[in-house]
């Protein structure tokens, strides 16, 4: 049996009578998946991320588990609305949405069936026209996920939190599809957490989020991927931005055995701005592949991309940064930085900036570094009485700090700092506490 057959057998498509526009797009994706199959090492875009082991798995559809409770440490305290999916299935009991006028938060299937919102322009429309197999699979099999719809001029003050939790699950796969529509001059913060609890086996979470920003909309989006270390996470964040809109995608990748994430942004009208932040912290044999793409389709758009990874043991990070500046996208200002810190001689970082510039009056800057902690800094701290272990901890955190500093929500900053402190160096930092640890950059 081929990997694809294996994969297809295991998946179920929804029985519900869905609107034609929806089911026909699912059918198209399903046909494409059958014809093209899943990505292999021969695909240039997937060359550095080996999925051989994943393809040997026989994934079954996920089933819901018994009730679980979430710990405070996994939640964003300031969030007022929360949707929780357990093994890809909505858990209404854990979900809690407070009413905000002009804001609608719904499960995908319900939103599609009720047809109160016109989702036709927003489902599968911000994704690449030549999707890879996992994206096709996500489109074909998506029956779960969330839809956030924000009306014109609505400012949603507190963050909206979506939790995808894998709980006591074996070799299951789920394909959640999420849609965020921010209408004109609306403003919202959305936090996606991908976490695990209980015993979690070799599961696959294939999770795609589409963002549509109308004129002047501002969205601050977080994807906090902290899957079980045995898990696969394949995902995508695909956005399309209209005039003067402002999107920040913050990509925090800490978990999973192998993760692959597409972060694609299309700036479709003048004045749009997109900021992409990424912090990847890996150890053991973890592997995280981030494929980013910013398309400057129109003039006077700006983008600012800042990705950092910290790699210990024999972990590996892959970063691709593609910036495409279309022919009439004059006065584009695009910046891309990727910095990698290797804490072990066996860790590996691959970084690949790709700039395709067809306009002639643009500013595009990019830089990539791979390095280790500076020994002169370690010596300096040690000479002040700080142990070598703590000196290295401080310097490692300092490296992560300027990305974390870009996150606008204090909750997230603090939680993430604490998690990184715990994850990377446990005791060394608990001695001094992490409050006020990080310097302000001049």
């Amino acid at each position: 049996m081929t990997a694809l057959q294996n994969f297809l057998l295991a998946q179920e498509r929804s029985d519900n009578a869905l609107p034609t526009w929806f089911s026909s797009r699912q059918q198209t994706a399903f046909d494409r998946l059958k014809n093209r199959g899943l990505p292999s090492a021969r695909d240039e875009e997937w060359r550095l991320t080996k999925l051989t082991e994943l393809y040997k798995q026989e994934f079954c559809p996920a089933i819901a588990t018994n009730a679980l409770s979430l710990q405070d440490a996994q939640l964003t305290a300031s969030a007022n609305s929360r949707i929780v999916f357990v093994n890809g299935i909505l858990d209404a009991g854990l979900s809690d949405s407070s009413f905000v006028s002009g804001l609608s938060i719904e499960p995908l299937e319900q939103a599609v069936l009720s047809n109160k919102l016109d989702l036709e322009p927003f489902f599968n429309t911000s994704v690449p026209t030549e999707p890879h197999g996992f994206l096709s699979a996500n489109t074909a099999f998506a029956s779960s996920g969330y839809v956030i719809h924000i009306n014109d001029n609505i400012i949603v003050d507190s963050p909206i939190e979506i939790i995808f939790i894998a709980n006591n699950v074996g070799a299951a796969a789920w394909h959640c599809r999420n849609i965020i529509v921010a209408n004109k001059h609306s403003n919202a913060t959305v936090i996606e957490r991908h976490i695990a609890s209980g015993s979690a086996g070799v599961y696959l979470s294939n999770c795609v989020t589409e963002l549509h920003l109308a004129d002047g909309a501002r969205v601050d989006f977080y994807k906090h991927q902290d899957e079980a270390l045995s898990a696969y996470h394949i995902g995508g964040v695909y956005s399309e931005q209209s005039r003067d809109s402002h999107l920040t995608t913050n990509n925090i990748a800490i978990g999973s055995k192998i993760a692959r994430n597409d972060i694609f942004a299309t700036l479709s009208a003048p004045g749009a701005h997109c900021e992409m932040n990424g912090i990847i912290v890996l150890a053991h044999d973890q592997h995280v592949d981030n494929c980013t793409e910013v398309v400057h389709a129109k003039p006077n758009c700006t983008s600012d991309e800042y990705y950092k990874s910290i790699l210990d043991d024999q972990s590996r990070s892959v970063f691709r940064g593609r910036i495409i500046v279309a022919k009439d996208a004059q006065k584009t200002d695009a910046n891309q930085q990727n910095k990698n810190l290797l804490l072990s001689s066996r860790a590996e970082a691959d970084t690949k900036p790709q700039l395709e510039i067809y306009a002639d009056d643009v500013k595009c800057a990019h830089g990539a570094t791979v390095g280790q902690l500076e020994e002169k800094s370690v010596f300096y701290l040690r000479s002040r009485g700080i142990s070598e272990e703590m000196a290295r901890a401080l310097l490692t955190f300092a490296f992560a700090n300027d990305v974390i500093g870009r996150f606008r929500i204090a909750d997230i900053q603090k939680q993430l700092s604490a998690q990184l402190a715990d994850r990377l160096l446990g005791e060394a930092l608990s001695d001094i506490g992490i409050d006020g640890l990080f310097g302000e950059t001049s």
Binding site: S377, F379, S383, G385, M390, L394, G439, E440, T441
Partner: protein, 251 residues
């Protein structure tokens, strides 16, 4: 307090210190002067325990202990402080966090209780005033974007907070304008006490107008070739080092 006997040290296999001996008593301030490349900074770094500065012969006794038995951070906890010639910039670590980590690490080593947040802030405020450092510098990343003078003041601030028994100031005066020099010297002089010693490595006599040494040593060719009082510094200012180096070669 410090007794260095027949010290030889090399960097990357190249011998820098050659049979250097130096005795520093409690409460004394020793100035070490000498031409470029004579080994002044090497001596400072060997004392601090910097990697790559290999001691090949001789002994360093500090408060009755063999200094080389201690690693870098243990030396600091034992009361040895090096003010760097080129303080390192550490983006992302705040000055105050580094100081807190340093103070509490040293207290832990000495089996003392950690300072409370309140005690620590009080200490920092008091010492920052001593070197005329504004509060905002404490929140800034260590030395990042600091001017030369600010970096050196930051070194003295750290020294004032850690209250070392033996301070080694490695060309703390280089690149300072006269106002910054006075502030630095004031900070250093405030710390002088009968149970604290200092080794002031400098290229210029000017610093010694503000920090008056008990002894002045001239380091040349990796060893101390002449020792005197502060008048020796004035003589060096006038005559340079050539006459001493010649003496060494012919002697």
């Amino acid at each position: 307090m410090l007794s260095i006997k027949n010290l030889k040290a090399e960097i990357d296999g190249k011998q820098i210190l050659n049979d250097l001996s130096l005795e520093v008593g409690a409460g004394e301030v020793h100035a070490i002067m000498g031409p470029n490349g004579s080994g002044k900074s090497t001596l400072a770094n060997v004392l601090a325990g910097r990697e790559g500065h290999e001691m090949t012969a001789g002994s360093i006794d500090y408060l009755g202990k063999n200094l080389t038995d201690y690693n870098v951070e243990e030396r600091a906890a034992e009361g040895l402080f090096l003010a760097f010639q080129y303080p390192v910039e550490i983006p992302g670590v705040s000055n105050i966090a580094m100081l807190k980590a340093a103070v509490n690490s040293i207290r832990k080593y000495r089996k003392e209780d950690e300072l409370t947040a309140g005690e620590f802030l009080k200490l920092i405020k008091e010492k920052a005033a001593l070197v005329e450092m504004k509060q905002e510098f404490l929140q800034r990343s260590v030395n990042e974007g600091f001017s030369g003078g600010e970096k050196k003041r930051n070194e003295i601030l750290q020294m004032a907070i850690l209250e070392p028994t033996l301070s080694v100031l490695d060309e703390t005066d280089s690149g300072l304008d006269i106002d910054a020099l006075k502030i630095v010297a004031h900070g250093v002089n405030t710390l002088r006490s009968p149970d604290r010693s200092m080794i002031v490595v400098t290229h210029y006599q000017r610093l010694l107008d503000y920090i008056q040494p008990d002894y002045v040593h001239v380091l040349a060719g990796g060893k101390i070739v002449k020792t005197g009082d502060k008048d020796l510094a004035l003589e060096l200012e006038e005559r340079g080092y050539g006459w001493l180096e010649q003496q060494v070669e012919t002697g």
